[in-house]
């Protein structure tokens, strides 16, 4: 036994025993270390491997230039221009004091509020690996000052950022829409969520108009770069996973010449109405090609210049465009596209619907003749004609020509009697007690042929145009009336429809008054169907997706307006309506005859219909004029609406005339067609 010392002592005091105790402690320590090592490196290794990857790998997306938007002759409506942006390096933000100093200095230089810049920095939607843009479109002078005194602007950079540029100003402002950074809410919407490649926070996307509806084409494909970063956030290596690909161009079916004519005519028409003492708060024009359902021109006044939104949408801009959260619903704001979003009673332009419904339902035929007295009495209510004298017995063409209201009251009344929503074929209408008490009234479906025809003709539901935010309009029926009653019965002393659906409602609807509401695009679609033999289109304002190649646009995809319905009328039935519409313009008795005096109708035959919807309690009307031409081979439908103006024949028809003159290149000042050059061979 090797034993140097202490051999004399025994028991617990022996040094070797005490060393053994020490040794056991050491063994315990090793057991602890080995088991912990086993846990970390074998049992928990996958989890830690994942965390290690999260530590170092960052994916950064680069936004490609957005596609341009062109008109049918490839002239540019929207493209991109470089904006000088002031950016802040994220490294600077680690020093709060220095950030404050720099922000205040920038604020004085750029006249941007520190608060606004801080809001941009704090925006969680921005990529943490790109410099934060705090001010856009800075002046050259500011740029050179920052460059010259860069030591006073640590972490401040100047970057060229592509922003939207609108060389045509307000032209087509609302249909084009605008772009802005995608919001957190938008990222969750199916339109953005299901798109591939995925949208990323910070992406600039369309917020309205075709910028929104064709965003998938315009956005292009973002570049994807994989970064390896160290603990400091420094980029150690970068690898491009996919290159960015510029967005496709969008070509609209809009004809630049006609669009320009439309803008001028609408503006001057509204100014004329205002000089005549009307409010003329807003107006809209749609020009549609009835052969293919494409939008040739579209305007909604008041309009705005989208350039103000190119640098991002501020609260002020938003208020200007939409009136903000407490907007007055009676005021049309510039961001509102009256052509597709406004609902208004169509007045007598609706008579083509009533005529069609009467022939389709069987209460009338193309050869029906009805009296046109000064007034009619249904139940205990008197319904007056437009003019205070009787106009005699007439057929469909003449009823449209002179716009006889009593003629159409009679048709509405008869449809109500035979196929209406109350008291037909032995079915009892709901009693007033049931009307008010029951939440879900069991309503006999009824045939409601008048309403059904109006829906078949494209009203009461969106047309399906390729623009977001289209409104449905209203074709009132019993169910709608009940819903309105339930919604308003606690609001007003006399709620809407508080007597249930009354037969008079159908009589009133027959001349486009009351609760019926339509949009200009809906009316344009239904008049296009009359002109083209019955085809109802879901209109398209875009005609193609293209890529610029060797200075020319190469079509990638053509966009066609689908036919979504057909007027249930035969040729004879359509023909009497068309005949009437022609007389409106050409016959001396026609309501639009005066408006088209001197127009070369023999060369460019136009058909149309005036409409005047009285606004309750005011001396102002919604003025309408729907027209198509040339009647021999209809190429255009022109729908004009002016809100809070005079009669359709006075406030709307002249605008249409100016547009037709523009379309056919007729010099307004020259006499009858002498200088008409363009036209149709």
């Amino acid at each position: 036994m090797v034993m140097g010392h202490g051999g004399g002592r025994g028991g617990f005091d022996h040094p070797r025993l005490r060393l053994a105790v020490l040794a056991m402690l050491v063994v315990g320590a090793f057991v602890a270390l080995f088991s912990r090592l086993w846990f970390l490196q074998v049992l928990a290794a996958p989890q830690y491997r994942h965390l290690a990857k999260q530590n170092k790998v960052r994916i950064v997306y680069s936004e490609p230039p957005r596609g341009r938007i062109l008109m049918s002759n490839d002239s540019v409506l929207v493209d991109n221009r470089a904006s000088l942006s002031v950016t802040l390096d994220r490294a600077l933000l680690k020093h709060p004091h220095r950030t404050t100093v720099v922000l205040h200095r920038l604020s004085r230089l750029l006249h941007v509020k520190v608060k606004d810049m801080r809001a941009r920095i704090a925006d969680a939607a921005l990529s943490p690996y790109k410099p934060v843009p705090v001010a856009n479109d800075v002046s050259q002078r500011a740029q050179s000052i920052i460059a010259e005194y860069h030591e006073h602007f640590p972490g401040v950079g100047i970057e060229q950022i592509p922003i939207r540029h609108y060389p045509k100003g307000h032209m087509l402002a609302q249909p084009l829409g605008y772009t802005n950074e995608i919001s957190a809410a938008q990222l969750k919407e199916p339109y953005f969520k299901n798109a591939r490649p995925r949208y990323q926070p910070g992406d600039v996307v369309g917020q309205s108009g075709v910028e929104l509806s064709y965003d998938h084409y315009l956005r292009g494909r973002p570049g994807k770069t994989r970064l390896i970063v160290n603990s400091n956030g420094d980029v150690i290596s970068r690898k491009t996973i996919s290159h960015e690909r510029a967005g496709n161009d969008l070509i609209l079916s809009v004809d630049p010449h006609i669009q320009k004519v439309v803008d001028t005519a609408l503006r001057s028409g509204i100014m004329t109405a205002r000089r005549s003492g009307y409010t003329a708060s807003a107006g809209a024009v749609v020009v549609l090609d009835p052969r293919n359902g494409h939008v040739v021109a579209m305007a909604s006044y008041p309009w705005y210049d989208p350039s103000i939104l190119a640098n991002g949408v501020s609260e002020k801009d938003w208020k200007l465009l939409t009136g903000g959260p407490h907007a007055n619903p009676d005021v049309v704001h510039p961001g509102f596209n009256l052509a597709i979003q406004g609902g208004a009673p169509p007045g007598s332009t609706f008579k083509v619907i009533t005529a069609g419904a009467a022939m389709w339902s069987g209460v009338a035929s193309p050869y029906t003749y009805l009296d046109c007295p000064a007034s009619k009495v249904y139940g205990n209510q008197v319904f007056n004609n437009d003019v205070p004298y009787a106009q005699g017995v007439m057929g469909f063409p003449e009823s449209l020509e002179v716009s006889c209201d009593t003629f159409y009251y009679q048709l509405g009344w008869e449809m109500q009697q035979r196929f209406g929503v109350t008291g037909y074929e032995g079915v009892q209408p709901p009693t007033l007690e049931q009307w008010g008490r029951q939440k879900h009234l069991h309503l006999p479906p009824g045939k409601q042929r008048f309403q059904k025809y109006a829906r078949l003709a494209g009203l009461g539901h969106p047309t399906g145009i390729d623009l977001p935010g289209e409104s449905s309009g209203t074709i009132p029926d019993q169910r709608w009336c009940h819903e309105q009653y339930l919604a308003t019965r606690h609001l007003f002393s006399t709620p809407t429809c508080n007597y249930g659906w009354l037969p008079g409602y159908d009589v009133n609807m027959a001349i486009g008054q009351g609760d019926v509401q339509v949009t200009p695009i809906q009316m344009a679609v239904t008049y296009a169907a009359i002109a083209n033999g019955g085809k109802l289109f879901a209109p398209r304002i875009a005609s193609a997706i293209a890529r610029p190649e060797h200075g020319q646009e190469k079509i990638v995809k053509r966009i066609k307006a689908p036919v979504v319905g057909r007027l249930p009328l035969d040729d004879q039935e359509l023909q009497v309506i068309r005949d009437g519409l022609k007389l409106v313009v050409s016959s001396p008795k026609g309501t639009a005859y005066n408006a088209f005096t001197g127009f070369p109708l023999h060369r460019y035959p136009i058909a149309g219909k005036t409409g005047t919807a009285e606004l309750l309690g005011t001396k102002q009307n919604d003025a309408w004029f729907l027209s198509y031409g040339p009647t021999t081979d209809p190429r255009y439908v022109v729908a004009v609406e002016v809100q809070k103006a005079g009669f359709g024949a006075v406030s709307a028809a002249p605008i249409a005339r100016q547009i037709w003159e523009g379309i056919f290149h007729i010099d307004h000042n020259a006499r009858v067609g002498s200088l008409s050059q363009g036209g149709f061979g």
């Binding site: 140097g4 060393l19 020490l22 050491v26 090592l37 074998v42 989890q47 830690y48 390896i228 603990s231």
Partner: protein, 394 residues
Amino acid sequence: MAQGLFGEAVDHIGGEPIAARMARRAPIRHVDPVLVATALLLAAFGAVMVYSATVHTQQAAGLDPAYFLKRQIAYAVIGAILMVAVNLFDYRHLRGLAPLVYAVNLLLLFVVLTPLGTASLGAQRWIDIGPLQIQPSEIAKLSVILTIGAYISLRKGEPLRLRDIAVCGAIALVPAALIYLEPDLGTMLVLAAITGAMLWVGGGRLRHFVLLALLAAAGTFLVIHMGLLKPYQIDRLTSFMNPHPNPRSSGYNLLQSKIAIGSGGLYGKGLGGAHTQTSLDFVPEQQTDFIFTAVGEQLGFVGAGTLLSLFALLIWRGLRIAAMARDMFGTLLAGGVVAFWAFEMFVNVGMTMGIMPITGIPLPFISYGGSSLITNFIAVGLLLNVHMRRYLAP
């Protein structure tokens, strides 16, 4: 020629020729080759790891990638020379020299605190001598081992009285107090562990240890609640208990350390691999206190296990030498050295894996640092000295 009891010439003892007996007992024949080999292997392992942990950050900074490697090798060479030098004389001479060593060490610890000392990372721990930096707190570990060993061996194997324990405590406390001022909490704890282990091996009574434990508990309580520790020190000591740290805290560093080791898996990511936790600088102090994370990440369970096994071998040889020593002083020296290594190894490795508090304790032989490496080699030398001379007369 030796002379017998009656003046006769003696050339045999117990039937063995004296020359043969002297040769058999010659110290040089009793070198512990396993200990030497283990120490050199550990030092080589450490040099490789120091290089692997620093090469990327050095390259990224445009500096000499082998800077740390070269220095660590130089320290190892100096250490190895000192290891041999320590064996040129009988360790028992150190018993007499211990007070001198202790005094010089105290002086150096004092100098550190004067403007002659240099500070780094908020702690003043070094003295610059030309191109060299020495860290007297490292030397303190050895000087305390020597001094306590010398004191206890005066008791000639008698059980220690309370007074002896108090004296030994004082021997450790004076340098510990100076080290506290640097501050260097880790070294204080190492000194406490060494003192405790040596008192135990030297014959401290169980009831005295109970008393010491109570004192230590009370002391810890007072230290924390009297503000003797800075907030960051408390944060570091307690962060290993918090599994969800916030970034920029020491707990975050610990999480990064665990991620590094855990992501190494069974076989590791390979020495010097790019884009690792280590090379991307996610782990703090990765060539010094946290070097075990580089081992775990790059060499995996296999490599880290091998390293721990080398430590087990080292500590086993130390315990064996303590048991075989020819006198109490030798046993105490060896026991102190074993306690020193075992404590540092356990606390350091445990810290990187989140089972021990974060304290600035290096991993013996592996962590980058001259004073530490040289001290470790001198400690090996002391063990070898005790081992070689175990057959000489007590």
